[in-house]
Symmetry: C2
Subunit: 449 residues, 2 copies
């Protein structure tokens, strides 16, 4: 070679090696399985969209961070920065074909040219699911049920889904005749944790030009705590007489009752009036999901109800509700919590290639094991056994199968448990089922995968 090119990736972009890609795929597959079980269908949209579809639909920040360029035909195009804007475009374009309610999931990468920093990447995967075209509380309830089932199936039991309804605060502000001051009121309220009640109260009066009593009422709502029943009673008192607020509370009541009725343990959900995710976008119920063992990492599954998904592209009214699993954040959390095994092979069994002349025997053995749904790799070269076992260890195989010509002639194999360093001899030709039973025991694989 005259000149070698340095192999490297762009800043903020990642290669996924097998040991990180395997848990990623596993979680994405779990998400697909759970979403489908609730009737959500997969869709996909192009990575590139006309720039005018994408600009001005997120925030100023997403506009600035968007990867954009002119394509070969001189068209201005951009790479999607989320899956919601493409969904809005998609729904506007196809809803007459799709019909409503339309339940879709979309698991795909998105791109943002953020300043790379710890935990921030320029390419990351979103796992969204949404129900479009209905205002029914059934869709709200199902969203919470999906989040709950999804985390359980991923293997996380200690989490809490925080539930709020944007209508409660809206209702209170309406009642206090502060609707036109929503933005400054919220901006102050956001500082509650940082600067404390008194400072927020003062700031609200100064900046939003509201009375001490009005500020006090808003703060009272923000500070409501207690059991589900207590919270519902407290906020009911605050918004009483305002229709929006009362409807919001009624919906929170229906959702929490349905969760209880569906057997979701009470420690896994919580009304929390402080949850204010994307208040300019969501219009109804809002969800955030916190890990009990690592709350500091933030919400790993968030979403909510919106009034109109696609009004930038169509006059058809499309209300909906959805949520998104933050795959990268969840995996970072699971890594911190040591929930991820350092395995580098999807197959639990390695067949050592021992006797060069007996390849066909090894191939038959491999075929037998695979036919039982157990993954198996045949080492490709008749290297020294020590080298092959070292390879098996470094890759994280659970079992090695070893047989030389003597064993093969006798229809035997050595089955070596690599974790416990124990071996057993099995007469596989006489009783293939004995070998499969031993492998099922050692690998924990029961069914065909």
């Amino acid at each position: 070679m005259s000149r070698r090119i340095q192999p490297r990736t762009l800043k903020g972009f990642r290669d996924f090696l097998p040991e990180t890609m395997m848990p990623r795929e596993q979680i994405m597959e779990t998400a697909r399985r759970v979403y489908r079980r609730y009737g959500f269908s997969p869709i996909d949209t192009p990575v590139l969209e006309y720039l005018e579809i994408l600009t001005g639909k997120g925030s100023e920040e997403t506009d600035r961070q968007m990867y954009r360029f002119q394509d070969h035909g001189g068209r201005e195009v951009g790479m999607r920065f989320d899956l919601t804007v493409p969904l809005a475009r998609f729904a506007a374009q196809h809803i007459h074909t799709l019909g409503t309610p339309f339940k879709r999931y979309h698991i795909a990468p998105v791109w943002r040219g953020e300043s790379p920093q710890a935990g921030r990447f320029r390419e990351f995967v979103q796992c969204d699911f949404d129900t479009i075209g209905t205002e029914s509380v059934v869709a709200d309830i199902e969203t919470a049920l999906v989040i709950h089932e999804l985390l359980l199936e991923i293997g996380i039991a200690n989490f809490k889904i925080k539930i709020n309804n944007r209508q409660v605060l809206s209702g209170l502000l309406q009642k206090l005749e502060l609707s036109d001051k929503t933005v400054p009121v919220l901006r102050s309220l956001d500082k509650l944790d940082k600067i404390g009640r008194d400072a927020v109260c003062t700031e609200m009066q100064a900046v939003a030009e509201i009375s001490a009593e009005q500020a006090n009422q808003v703060l009272k709502l923000a500070e409501v705590q207690g059991s589900t029943a207590q919270i519902l009673t407290s906020i009911e008192e605050l918004v009483r007489g305002n229709e929006t607020g009362e409807l919001g509370i009624e919906r929170l009541r229906q959702i929490t009752q349905a969760l209880e009725h569906s057997g979701v343990p009470s420690e896994r959900y919580q009304l929390d009036v402080a949850v204010a995710r994307g208040l300019d976008y969501y219009t109804g119920v809002i969800f955030e999901t916190m890990l009990g063992d690592l709350p500091s990492i933030g919400s790993i599954c968030s979403g909510g109800r919106y009034d109109n998904l696609a009004d930038l592209y169509t006059k058809q009214h499309l209300p909906g509700i959805g949520a998104s699993l933050g795959l990268d954040r969840l995996l970072a959390a699971m890594e911190t919590l040591k929930m991820i095994q350092p395995v580098r092979t999807p197959a639990p069994v390695l067949i050592a290639y021992f006797d060069k002349e007996r390849l066909n025997d090894y191939l038959l053995l491999a075929k037998l094991i695979r036919s039982a749904g157990i993954g198996v790799e045949l080492f490709p070269d008749p290297k020294k056994l020590a080298a092959q076992l070292k390879y098996a260890d470094s890759r994280g195989f659970q079992v090695a199968i070893i047989a030389g010509s003597r064993e093969l002639d006798a229809g035997l194999v050595q089955v070596k448990d690599l974790a416990n360093k124990t071996s057993q001899e099995i007469a596989w030709r006489e009783s293939p089922e004995d070998l499969l039973t031993a492998l099922r025991d050692l690998t924990g694989i029961r069914a065909v995968t």
Copy 2:
């Protein structure tokens, strides 16, 4: 809204609606399952790479078609146009960590700004698997076994894997002392089907400046046909005395013997010396896979052995072999062959929302059915039953579950087979298993999904 934006996709790009996305996902999942079963691990690489990584690595055509631009940091970047160049970069960068043999699969979209025409898209998915770091024939054999198993599990039985070895032609050209004339000889040979033997023979002599006897020998090889044994005998005669050629033939013999020994029916593979896929890139065995019912669509799974994957990025010698399933071409074929069901929901069962007051009963029913691994959608609004059944039909649900307050009070449901328009009443509260058995019968779902 002041101005609506027309919802549309870029030329050559596609939205995938549920009925097209579901079979796509199914095939990708089958590929993952089969690849894993043979010990291939998943990896992923960034969509964007430094431009210098990508340019000059494919053909002039891929260079011209590449989507490229300057990122926010002024770096020249490009969107990958295949998964092989990123694999080469990835292997060069990580092989010291990964070790060899390294078996990976990568299922991901790639982009080429081709002129859009029937069946050509600017964004399409590749499903690659490769074994790197070994020259063993075991990897060649496994590649063929994976292709065979993959197509069977996708549901295709009538196909043929065509197998050739680049070394056979190389050997013959060496023997005829024509190695330096490989390119013009092949260019002429490519026209065999179009212009016939005599014209090719004349052209070879004129353009490549070779003798009539040399041209005759090359054509003899290209025309070899018959059974596996016959072909091996014929090409053996032609290349006898040349080591490269003889090694190539020995390898073809090992592969075909192993396939036979592994129980691959003889009608599913075929030696074919005319298969010349990417002769400038592959150096050993080459595979193409033709559909018996639609050969005109071309090879749906192709690959081969290469000498050195990553020499542009590293001095480490990395031979390997791999193949790629052409997802878009395969799906186009399956659609033509009417192998794809027009289903728009991943859940087979719809629960009609009949009595507004009984939401919690419907939720419990849904929970029961899902717990058996059967997907179920609860219609979100208590609309007229006729509208809900129309929705069920249009989506392709198999079963509707219908219960009003009278039935619910009695612990009963109507289970309606939507294809046959038959109904049965089941006492689900008394015997949940009766309901699940009926649903398993009607949907064909046996195990937990």
